[in-house]
Symmetry: C2
Subunit: 340 residues, 2 copies
């Protein structure tokens, strides 16, 4: 089934069930008012939502036209957003770009950072930034929402706790990262609000593409209408979601509704870094990677980071070319000062 959260002026919005083709939706308020309420009691609520989704597909339930611009991120705010960096190829490239060495343990021990989760952007909300000079970048990712996970859960147990899958744009301010990471406490100001796809889906909606804790489909990332990346999320994912969730739960239980991200989807090519779309390659899911390739080739980066007015689109299609999660489509916007 496919779930989303309709904007209604409240902080948490209203839970809706969306048709497989993303054309119609039906309110699910009679079953659970919000996405978090559904996740808080998933074993009871999910079967009721499934029945509702079936009636919606059959056309035996009132529905309305679905519009991604009217929804929040599936969880407009969450109790946890922990983002891995499972495509170690990305980590290797980005660290090269900032002249940081990469320890070999990065191939065996997942990187993960705790992100801010109090205030996500909607999938079509602007990326508001105060300064273009911060090096605004998208990061196209896959993310899962889990049920309660006990402390010390093994990967198998972690995999069974995955309830929903979605896409993410983990917005990054590249020029703030080196100084912030040098302080030793990880990202904070360099990671403003993230955004997620209009729709979150149960793993069964992915069919064969959900296998071994990975989504085996290309992630389509475009900037200003031009395809920028189509890296396959199932390839070069060193740590699958079972391992990422288990890593997050090693020393503490995870609460229902926790979001665990894959990190920037990134594919190698012939054992080396991938090539740009313009050269027939699979491109990149963030600008930092192409800038690294350019630095290696030309001595300096050529592709600028995002500017005010730029539009980022992130989407994933099934094998028949139909959008699974709907598209994130976000315009980078200059912050207008709010009065206190």
């Amino acid at each position: 089934m496919k779930l989303a959260t309709l904007k209604d002026g409240s902080r948490d919005g209203r839970l809706i069930v969306v048709t497989r083709d993303l054309k119609r939706y039906s309110h699910a308020g009679e079953v659970a008012r919000t996405m978090q309420a559904a996740l808080d009691d998933w074993m009871t609520i999910a079967p009721q939502l499934v029945r509702l989704a079936e009636r919606l597909e059959e056309g035996t339930r009132p529905s309305e036209a679905f519009d991604a611009r009217q929804v929040h991120s599936p969880l407009p705010r969450a109790y946890q957003w922990a983002d891995g960096s499972a495509y170690v190829n990305h980590v290797e490239l980005v660290r090269q770009a900032r002249n940081a060495a990469m320890p070999s343990t990065f191939w065996t021990d997942p990187l993960m950072y705790q992100g801010g989760s109090d205030n996500f952007l909607g999938p079509c909300d602007p990326i508001v930034a105060c300064d273009e000079g911060h090096g605004i970048d998208m990061e196209g990712e896959v993310a899962v929402i889990v049920d309660d996970v006990p402390m010390g859960a093994a990967p198998d147990q972690a995999l069974n706790a995955i309830r929903l899958v979605m896409l993410a744009n983990d917005v990054s301010l590249r020029h703030l990262i080196p100084d912030e990471l040098a302080k030793g406490f990880g990202f904070f100001q360099s990671k403003p609000a993230s955004a997620f796809s209009p729709v979150a889906v149960t793993p069964d909606e992915l069919g064969d593409a959900w296998k071994d804790g990975k989504v085996h489909l290309p992630l389509l990332v475009s900037v200003n209408g031009r395809l920028f990346g189509r890296a396959n999320a199932g390839i070069d994912m060193t740590f699958d979601f079972a391992k990422l969730v288990s890593h997050a739960a090693r020393t503490r239980a995870l609460s229902a509704g926790s979001i665990i991200g894959s990190g920037t989807v990134s594919n190698k090519k012939d054992g080396g870094p991938g090539t740009p779309i313009s050269e027939g390659g699979d491109g990149y899911s963030c600008i930092a990677e192409i800038r690294m390739i350019e630095t290696i080739r030309l001595g300096q980066p050529a592709t600028p980071f995002l500017k005010f007015g730029d539009i980022v689109r992130i989407e994933m299609n099934d094998k028949r070319g139909a959008s699974i999660f709907g598209a994130l489509e976000q315009t980078v916007q200059r912050q207008t000062l709010e009065q206190p």
Copy 2:
């Protein structure tokens, strides 16, 4: 006014108002069901809670005996827990202890890490750990809960958004920290669930002790019934809460109910590190600090980290010796395996 969250078997518990002397409480469900619900609409809800608190103090409202063992942390789960490290003295000592250099910018640019907030411990819940060898330590802190804070808020604006003050135990697994920080993404497994004081209070409850965005009172930390620290939270706090909240909001808005911590309260003595209680000093709010002092003096640490069965108590009294927030009192406990 003083607020708390009664355990009732639900994830968010029930909001209660507590008397100044922490002896009685009254349900506040008619005004707001949960602490987060109150924070979501503070300007409307708070005046109603104040009236309720007044009637509770007057004895004109039904009340029951307050017991800290029956409450959650004020927010049993929160949308954000961002912990600063405002007592730079602590940072300096802890970094010395792990042979990490401290850049001079640490005195001007606050350190802050994003903590897990999906699953806090109650103030009298056990600190469950899977391995004593992880180096289990308490960190006694002051924390504030803020209202919505717009991106880019100046310190003055940030100060005005502080709604509640409480104490925190930011449990740390010291032996996991060096390897985790070396990876560059900050704390994750090394920071298991934190706990907060039984009661959160509005700043006016602190009277003169709330000044310049700091709480000017000693933080009493004891281990197994022996006083371990009484560092004054108003002294040596390089970054007050106005600066910490403003730092957190630099590149993204903070949502109502976000918790911002001070970091481990730590006082210098005569320009150098503080001395132990046993020598008439003000002691420490975490074990890592005394171990550093011992390393400097004796060549190696003598005080062990917490063991299973140890009891940590964290409290703060007003000038008349009355407990303001109630006491955190937590026993360290070995994890018992849960079945999937």
